[in-house]
């Protein structure tokens, strides 16, 4: 079965104080429907990726809440897997199509974070971690900082090498009008930014953001006739221990290795075949490790390859995060996995404008929850 991506949409990402979560979600859903040329009554089900609505907004039952905005009575599901909620929502939607349960589904990722104070957000995000980590006073930047310490020590990589990830992604962000940050930063800006959890500094960390993204997917055979059709070649999920300290390796994420290997195996696609990818760079260290786990770079060389420009638009071989990634485009956690799909779809259709990767035919998205607790990998083809 071929599952095609029809319409896609993202809202602006950023501090959207004048817009409610409900309105934000509606904007993304309606825009994606418009782009697909379908009406709400032609959709069989809605899948919503969201992490924090219950914790921060005391709002559960998101499926029903958001389907109300569409004015229909279709089945609707809220899917949660921390920062991989979006990727998991899409995976579940894909599975339901493959099972012939539904033919066309709307998949939404939504998060509203900036209504709340920074320590509330820090606290809420730690819901993705374990009891042991929370009781240790660890934070998400803290957990990734432990990985960064391990990585830097093992591979003799410097903080400047990691800073190159943020420099690249901010450069890409300048080419994306939806991005939260559309300005460049330098290595020295990153190095001079305030420390969050040593060795990670403010500019190593993705921001707190509001945003929504939506895609319409279908198994309808007629969609193949669409010009520039993009389809989902693989949708794979894998998990790992909730706590970082319970793992064998602190410098590689088993969930990413497993999910991506399954995706490569099922499609026959190899890492070097990937033209463009959206990587879950919640922290600079995350993208460095991701490019190794996905097979783009050798072990210990992920950050160095990024610093050399191998992942940068217009000069690299496998481009990572043309949208600006989580760092510059913003990271509304439930929306991120779907935004990645929107970006890769635009790239493969040749509709990415100023940040178009030339002749992009195969794209990959890498969406991670917790400290690598869950990973959703999608491979898209034109």
């Amino acid at each position: 079965m071929k599952i095609s991506i029809l319409g896609t949409a993202t809202t602006k990402f950023g501090e959207l104080w004048n817009i409610s979560p409900r309105a934000l979600a509606k904007e993304a859903m309606i825009s994606a429907l418009d782009a697909s040329g379908l009406k709400a009554h032609q959709i069989d089900a809605l899948f919503v990726g969201n992490m924090l609505s219950g914790i921060l907004g005391n709002q559960a039952n998101l499926g029903s809440l958001l389907v109300e905005e569409l004015g229909v009575n279709i089945p609707a599901f809220r899917i949660e897997g921390a920062c991989a909620s979006g990727g998991l929502a899409l995976h579940n939607a894909v599975n339901s199509l493959k099972a012939y349960q539904y033919r066309t589904a709307l998949v939404l990722g939504i998060e509203k974070m900036t209504d709340h104070s920074q320590d509330e957000i820090t606290n809420a995000l730690m819901a993705a971690g374990s009891d042991e980590e929370r009781l240790a006073g660890a934070t998400f930047p803290g957990v990734y900082a432990l990985m960064a310490q391990a990585y830097m020590q093992k591979y003799k990589v410097t903080e400047e090498d990691l800073a190159a990830v943020s420099v690249k992604n901010h450069y890409h962000g300048t080419l994306n009008s939806k991005a939260q940050f559309q300005f460049e930063v330098s290595i020295s800006d990153v190095m001079k930014s305030s420390k969050i959890a040593d060795p990670l500094k403010l500019l190593d960390c993705s921001p707190i953001s509001d945003g929504a993204a939506a895609v319409v997917i279908t198994s309808d055979e007629n969609s193949k006739k669409i010009k520039n059709n993009v389809y989902i070649a693989a949708s794979e999920v894998a998990t790992d221990t909730l706590s970082l300290h319970d793992r064998k390796s602190f410098t590689s994420l088993e969930s990413v290795v497993k999910a991506s290997n399954n995706a490569y195996k099922k499609t026959g696609i190899k890492p070097k075949d990937i033209d463009v990818s959206e990587i879950h760079d919640c922290f600079s260290i995350s993208e460095a490790i991701a490019t190794e786990d996905l097979g783009f770079s050798e072990k210990g060389e992920g950050a160095i390859d990024i610093a050399k420009g191998k992942r940068t638009l217009f000069k690299g071989d496998i481009i990572c995060n043309p949208s600006g990634g989580l760092k510059a485009c913003g990271h509304p956690v439930g929306a991120t996995g779907i935004k990645q799909i929107v970006e890769i779809t635009e790239q493969l259709r040749g509709e990415a404008g100023k940040r178009q990767v030339e002749k992009a035919k195969i794209g990959l998205t890498h969406n991670v929850g917790g400290s690598g607790t869950v990973a959703a990998i999608h491979i898209l083809r034109s």
Binding site: G142, L146, Q149
Partner: protein, 100 residues
């Protein structure tokens, strides 16, 4: 948020058996932007420790000097007040690490 006394009671059973256990720091960081209940302790180190029995644990390092923040540093499990609780909450004690 008030910690559930039941949850606390259940968790504390395991804490006492760890007091005095020794281990070595595997990795460390310093948390400078903590969650609300840890704000008055920041900045503080969080470490992953390989404990004598071979198990890895994560915890806060207390009574520390800068030179204690290194891989291989010997530490011991101690019982400490965990964090700042709400006025109505039971004061929570838990295992933290102290340099040796």
């Amino acid at each position: 948020m008030i910690t559930s006394p039941v949850k606390l009671w259940r968790r504390q059973k395991s804490a006492s058996s760890l007091i005095g256990k020794k281990g070595k720091i595997l990795h460390w960081t310093i948390i400078r932007v903590p969650a609300k209940s840890f704000v008055d302790q920041a900045p503080y180190p969080v470490v992953i420790v390989k404990v004598q029995n071979g198990e890895n644990m994560i915890g806060q390092l207390v009574d520390w000097q800068k030179e204690d923040l290194k891989v291989g540093q010997d530490v011991v499990c101690v019982l400490r007040r965990l964090r700042t609780e709400e006025r109505e909450s039971i004061i929570y004690y838990n295992i933290k690490f102290k340099p040796l």
